[in-house]
């Protein structure tokens, strides 16, 4: 009975934190002045703006997905299957862009390639022209920045896919075919579900990203929703506005579930055979240059630009002095949220794995729901749910921020931990039943240690994403409780370039701190984690 109680508490918390905001924002959109009505929708649908927004959002998302695949898939192959220089280092370095939130690289690129960007000014002088050839503003720039932020997801899933099947399936084809045919007919089809999933995730992330199009002045759904909410305070209309977007996302998630089925997102390296590493021969130099260029553009350029912009150690001293409450606050909030997520996700995915078929399918789908809700909409939902007199202790305090982080990012953690638990056979647990009658101890002694890698990875992902979270926090943050990303975002508008740059660097460093510890403790590098 003991375990029942834990299950119920966990599921209740999951529902309150994750599902309640989604539900209440939905219900709210059918209300006008306290009465049920469809007028929010009819109004929204009448507007011509809808089509423009939809087209813009699709261009941005499809463009980003296309380029992410173009970069991410070959990179996965190069790292996993070829003798590229520094192969061992690239196998974790490609993840580095994930610790730089997209708005931070956007800030750096604006500084370089904005209308008055230093690189543009230099180029204009060099060619004595008065207009820059290219600015980072607009679609191209947004797609560029988002691609450099999100391609690691594709690479990660490609590598996971490549590790997921037995090498002998390719060898069996070597008997009759050359390597090109094998790639086309065996390898690619086998990892297709992984690539497809990666594409869907990148699409979802880029269509619901708020900060990049906002900074680069592209009018897409999340930006428009934010304006509706913060300028007119019309959250019902904001929600109604986003319905086409949410429907698209729903459809994609269902599609992804269908294709990916029960496949695992984490593969623990099996002891059997190593993959056959292909000699790149003549291509080695070009491949190396390609990978270096990607790392250069996605990590080195933004980071060195920010370091260069912050100019002196003094900027960091000032940054610490003015923003240390936010730095500490961000760290504590992200740390707590990640811990809550790991505990909740562990229990929820344990129930999902061990549950009967029907419950299993629905839990699995529900746990993916937050993906379908753009962050700004989530912020609105949280407000609608918790901004009541009786729940001031949540809405008026940092708790609401933790709720926001958990609601937004728990799907990642559930995916990561879940695929780890999936690999623990029921038999192993039953074997423990013989000697250990207490359910709690069995979980702690058998299941938890066996899913250690998934738990560590899940925590790391949750922490990194929470540290960088902007869109939800922007909407729900209580007065005086700002986080570091908020501080950066507001300071930006005051043009405090030097300070902003220093804070960005601090944010990246603080994000890296626990990640490095995890890698050192858990030797994460031996386990490949994929996010679904």
């Amino acid at each position: 009975m003991h375990n029942r109680l834990v299950y119920i508490v966990a599921l209740a918390l999951f529902c309150i934190i994750v599902l309640a905001p989604i539900l209440s924002m939905f219900l709210d959109s059918f209300m006008v002045e306290g009465k049920p009505s469809l007028s929010n929708y009819s109004e929204v649908l009448k507007e011509k703006r809808q089509i423009g927004l939809l087209v813009n959002s699709l261009i941005l998302a499809i463009g980003t997905t296309f380029f992410c695949l173009l970069i991410g898939v070959p990179l996965g192959f190069l790292i996993n299957r070829t003798n590229i220089h520094l192969r061992n280092h690239f196998s974790y370095l490609f993840l580095a862009p994930l610790v730089i939130p997209p708005y931070i690289s956007t800030i750096a690129w604006i500084h370089l390639l904005g209308s008055k960007g230093i690189l543009n000014i230099y180029l204009m002088k060099l060619f004595s022209v008065t207009e820059p050839f290219f600015t980072i503003y607009g679609f191209l720039g947004s797609i560029f920045v988002l691609t450099l932020s999100y391609f690691p997801f594709v690479t990660l899933l490609t590598i996971t896919g490549l590790k997921s099947f037995d090498r002998r399936l390719e060898e069996a084809a070597e008997i009759s075919h050359g390597s090109w045919d094998i790639m086309k007919k065996i390898t690619l089809p086998l990892i297709y579900p992984y690539i497809f999933s990666a594409a869907i995730f990148v699409f979802i992330f880029s269509i619901s990203n708020y900060s990049v199009p906002d900074l680069l002045r592209v009018n897409v759904y999340p930006v428009e929703i934010f304006i509706q909410f913060s300028a007119y305070y019309n959250h019902a209309k904001a929600t109604a506005l986003s319905i086409p977007l949410i429907l698209i996302l729903f459809f994609l998630i269902a599609l992804q579930r269908r294709y990916m089925g029960n496949k695992s997102y984490v593969t623990v390296e099996t002891s059997s055979r190593e993959v056959k590493v292909r000699d790149l021969g003549w291509w080695k130099g070009i491949a190396f240059a390609f990978v270096l260029l990607i790392i250069f553009l996605s990590v080195l350029v933004p980071i060195s630009d920010l370091i260069f912009t912050s100019r002196s150690i003094n900027a960091y001293v000032v940054a610490f002095k003015t923003a240390h409450p936010q730095i500490i606050n961000s760290f504590i909030l992200a740390f707590s949220a990640a811990t809550v997520m790991v505990i909740l996700a562990f229990i929820v995915s344990y129930i999902t794995e061990r549950a009967k078929k029907v419950l299993k399918g629905s839990l699995d789908f529900v746990s993916l729901l937050p993906f379908a809700i753009p962050a700004t909409i989530f912020g609105i939902g949280l407000t609608a749910t918790w901004n009541t007199p009786s729940t001031k202790f949540i809405y008026g305090t940092s708790l609401i921020i933790i709720f926001g982080y958990v609601a937004r990012f728990i799907p990642f953690v559930i995916r990561t931990i879940g695929s780890n638990i999936k690999q623990i056979k029921v038999g192993l647990e039953e074997a423990a039943l013989i000697s250990e009658p207490s359910w709690a101890k069995r979980i702690l002694k058998v299941v938890a240690p066996l899913s250690k890698s998934g738990i560590l990875a899940g925590w790391g992902i949750a922490f990194v994403l929470s540290m960088g979270e902007l869109a939800v926090t922007l909407l729900v943050t209580p007065a005086g409780e700002a986080t570091l990303p908020i501080r950066i975002y507001t300071l930006m508008h005051y043009g405090a370039q030097q300070l902003v740059a220093a804070l960005c660097i601090i944010l990246v460093c603080v994000t890296l701190l626990p990640i490095i510890s995890i890698v050192l403790i858990g030797r994460l590098s031996r386990v490949q984690i994929a996010i679904k």
Binding site: E171, A172, I175, S176
Partner: protein, 249 residues
Amino acid sequence: MLKIKELTKKFDSLVAVNRVSLDCKKGETLTVLGPSGCGKTTLLRLVAGFEKPDQGEILLNGEVVSQPNKIIAPNKRDLGMIFQDLALWPHMTVEQNIEFSLRSKRMNKTERKKEVKEILEKINLEGFEKRYPNKLSGGEQQRVALARSLVSKPKLLLMDEPLSSLDSILKGELIQLLTSLKDQLELTMVYVTHDQEEAKSVADRIAVMNCGRIEQVGTLEEIRSDPTNKLVKDFLNIHTKPRSFRLEG
């Protein structure tokens, strides 16, 4: 047809195949019999061309195909192989599995279809064309693997414990099928197994392998009448007859 000379393969410090020399004549079935972990799979992978030898060489029809610094790709060797765990492609139907293994590119669609149909008939797999491997029983999967390895009409067939996962009745059926196919297609076979009954029932000659070395090669009668050491004796269950008579009496 197949000639292996002084072949050695090391994995770091472990010598998986140790100075192995073997011959296999055209139309012959050679079984390599040995306990698990003795290097049988590694030997077959060397013959197929998946691994590069550290020493020695392999000749097919008089042509050198493997040397420490020269290796001819598996698809240029005109051989078929059945893998220990079959390695059927899960994303292809039975028909697609077999058709993809058809080597010749010069055939057109109808010719390919005809070849596939022919082999399906030979192996009693008609009606299974559109099924996926995970929807087949163990014995059916085994036969698909066999069809796949034979569709290109290779002259040499390598088999890595092809029947070890089947029950004894199915085993008997498949051994019969194999023997009839061997005569029809004039196959030369290298058949790897750890099961001495299986070895006895398919082999023309047996090579007993242990710890990477070949202990003895010969027909069953030759080995039985003159086993080189105790290990060979034990492994082939050879008892000295007078002794067992006396015990019974």
